[in-house]
């Protein structure tokens, strides 16, 4: 008996009786039996990844660096006794987070896109808002520094996106900070309009009343009741005039507050490195490689899921390990398919014939 005829017995499953061992045998058998099918998703996803990588366009990237000492939108941070220092957020991170949050909103992003000249493309549907969202982002790059970045297929739009993001953020910051003052101004302005209407009425009443009185001769006075009416109307007029003056003062105060707050908001950050229009696109090699690797990994995940699923669903006897739970391993034997056996036997006999021919004496060969 040659050593290769021992294959079926050597192929007998393991001696373990654990279910875990049976599972690994079943898994391995399933994988190697259908290896082509399990490699198929990996190859398909890899090919898809390559196609995607080939279609990847080179993008122009623009960056601007901002310095933010504090953020007027957030309360002052302090680490008191019992407070958690890990929750401390640097001004740079705060500002980057707030800009990121604003870029997550459609309203802010539309303003940015319109300022960057993408308004028409967005309206017509040529560009999706999410494409713009994925192209602009803010990231902190130190305690007080942060960067605004944008990538686009053309350098001008890339530059415009960064510039408009900074502008829109500044506008948003000013609007937010001065909200109370603006509302106060609006309130007092509305109040002023009302008071001015009341003032007109009071002046008109006094004028009409004075016009209705008969002319006085020299040395003659109005009767007491008329005098009282005149004084009452005059008093009303003066009171309204006083309110108008006070309201005008309130409006001046609100406007002044707005101006001060806007100035403070503007001081909370400043552009350290202005955005510049890029001259060359950034390298896409890494991006393409990552794309291919991602798709290949996705293929592996799909193949693994298929392998586990088919292994779990297939309950047929795959190895002796499956039977070790209810019969002794010594009671199990395996027999290879006869076709396989005959094939090996043919190979053996062919090999033996070859050996015999090689070992045959030369004389016999001649004869």
């Amino acid at each position: 008996v040659s050593s290769d005829t021992l294959v079926p017995v050597a192929a007998a499953p393991p001696r373990s009786t654990t279910l875990g061992r049976a599972f690994w045998w079943r898994l391995a058998d399933n994988f190697f039996r259908r290896s082509i099918w399990f490699l198929l998703p990996v190859l398909a996803m890899g090919a898809f990844g390559v196609m995607q990588a080939l279609n990847t366009k080179a993008l122009y990237r623009t960056s601007a660096t901002l310095s933010a000492g504090s953020n007027p939108l957030l309360p002052e941070q302090s680490v008191n006794a019992g407070g958690d220092a890990r929750l401390w957020e640097t001004p740079g991170a705060q500002t980057a987070r707030i800009i990121g949050e604003r870029l997550g909103t459609d309203a802010f992003l539309r303003d940015v896109a319109e300022s960057a000249g993408l308004g028409e493309a967005l309206e017509s549907g040529l560009i999706d808002i999410d494409v713009v969202r994925a192209s602009v982002w803010a990231a902190d790059s130190g305690d007080t520094l942060l960067s605004i970045n944008a990538t686009w297929e053309d350098p001008k739009t890339s530059f415009e996106l960064v510039a408009s993001t900074i502008d829109e953020y500044g506008r948003y910051l000013t609007e937010t900070v001065t909200t109370d003052a603006v509302e106060a101004e609006a309130f007092w302005t509305e109040r002023l309009d009302t008071l001015q209407a009341e003032l007109s009425v009071a002046e008109e009443e006094l004028g009409d009343y004075a016009a209705s009185l008969p002319p006085l001769r020299e040395g003659q006075d109005y009767p007491p009741d008329v005098t009282i009416n005149i004084e009452r109307l005059s008093g009303n007029l003066e009171a309204v005039e006083a309110q108008v003056r006070e309201t005008e003062a309130q409006i001046d105060t609100a406007v002044l507050t707005q101006s001060q707050q806007a100035t403070e908001a503007g001081r909370s950050y400043n552009v350290v490195d202005q955005p510049r229009q890029p001259e060359a696109p950034e390298s896409t090699l890494m991006k393409k490689a990552m794309l291919v690797v991602s798709f290949v990994l996705m293929g592996f995940v799909i193949a693994l899921a298929a392998l586990l699923l088919t292994t779990a669903l297939d309950r047929s006897i795959a190895s002796a390990a499956d039977l070790s739970g209810f019969v002794g391993l010594g009671q199990i034997a395996t027999v290879a398919p006869l076709k396989q056996v005959r094939g090996r036997r043919r190979e053996r006999s062919r090999g033996e014939r070859g050996r015999r021919a090689r070992n045959r004496p030369a004389a016999a060969g001649v004869a």
């Binding site: 006897i317 009671q331 006869l338």
Partner: protein, 258 residues
């Protein structure tokens, strides 16, 4: 060479039930030497048995004897959970192996009639009903392997469906089986699948041990467990995983074995 002359290997001719004057088989004619009757299920020649099959069966037999410190049971029922697993091949190989390598007197019995899955009876040979009517005809039903006189096969042909269930529990049939187990060193039954034939379970009562054949990637673990449970308390010699083909490379197999 007559059956009565061979008898059980460890028993003298005088003890053979076929020589019992009171037995109905006392006057049965002996199986002609070198019988060349055409077999319904021809027994394989020992030399033609695939090495892998004989090695697997040899392993199971040897392990059984080693484990139990006892010799192989007299009657062995080879069966499966489902049809088409290779029971006939294995049972014939087992009978041939025992006859050739152990020098025992073996009878292989085709029980395909239990489900009607059996070949037509050979012309001139008594079928099962004939044997039950007259046990003296049993010698005519035996067929010897051409190159292995110690191996006898009994393939009694088809039985009408209406009589199968009656036969299994009939005293005449039990007597036939008793005669076989008394006269031969070993009787190997080729039984239909136990999950599809209740009569197979009834037959297992007559067997000392069972041997299961399962086809790789065909029978499920649950089916085999159910089949083995249903054959309790008949001892189980082992399980042969037939047509076992694994694609796992040898290195990985070694890792899994570790």
């Amino acid at each position: 060479m007559s059956l009565t002359m061979r008898g059980r290997s460890e028993r003298s001719d005088d003890e053979s039930v076929f020589d019992d004057a009171t037995d109905a088989t006392a006057n049965v004619p002996a199986v002609p030497q070198g019988s060349s009757l055409e077999l319904a299920s021809p027994m394989p020649r020992y030399d033609d048995l695939p090495w892998e099959i004989t090695e697997s069966l040899r392993t199971i037999v040897n392990r059984y004897e080693l484990r139990t410190a006892d010799s192989l049971p007299t009657s062995i029922a080879v069966t499966s959970a489902l049809a088409g697993e290779g029971v006939t091949t294995m049972s014939q190989a087992l009978a041939t192996l025992i006859a050739q390598e152990m020098g025992r007197f073996v009878c292989w019995v085709d029980c395909g009639w239990l489900t009607g899955r059996t070949g037509a009876s050979v012309a001139g040979q008594p079928d099962l009903l004939d044997l039950l009517d007259d046990l003296a005809q049993i010698h005519s039903a035996f067929q010897t392997a051409p190159d292995l006189p110690g191996l006898i096969s009994l393939a009694p042909g088809p039985v009408p469906e209406s009589k199968r269930n009656l036969i299994v529990r009939s005293p005449a049939f039990e007597r036939l089986l008793r005669v076989l187990t008394q006269e031969f060193d070993h009787v190997v039954f080729d039984l239909p699948p136990v999950l599809s034939s209740a009569n197979s379970l009834a037959m297992l009562r007559q067997a000392d041990a069972s041997l299961f054949v399962v086809r790789h990637r065909s029978t499920t673990v649950a089916q085999l467990r159910r089949a083995i449970d249903s054959t309790q308390p008949t001892p189980n010699l082992g399980i042969v995983i037939n047509r076992y083909r694994t694609s796992i490379p040898a290195r990985v197999r070694r890792l899994l074995d570790a």
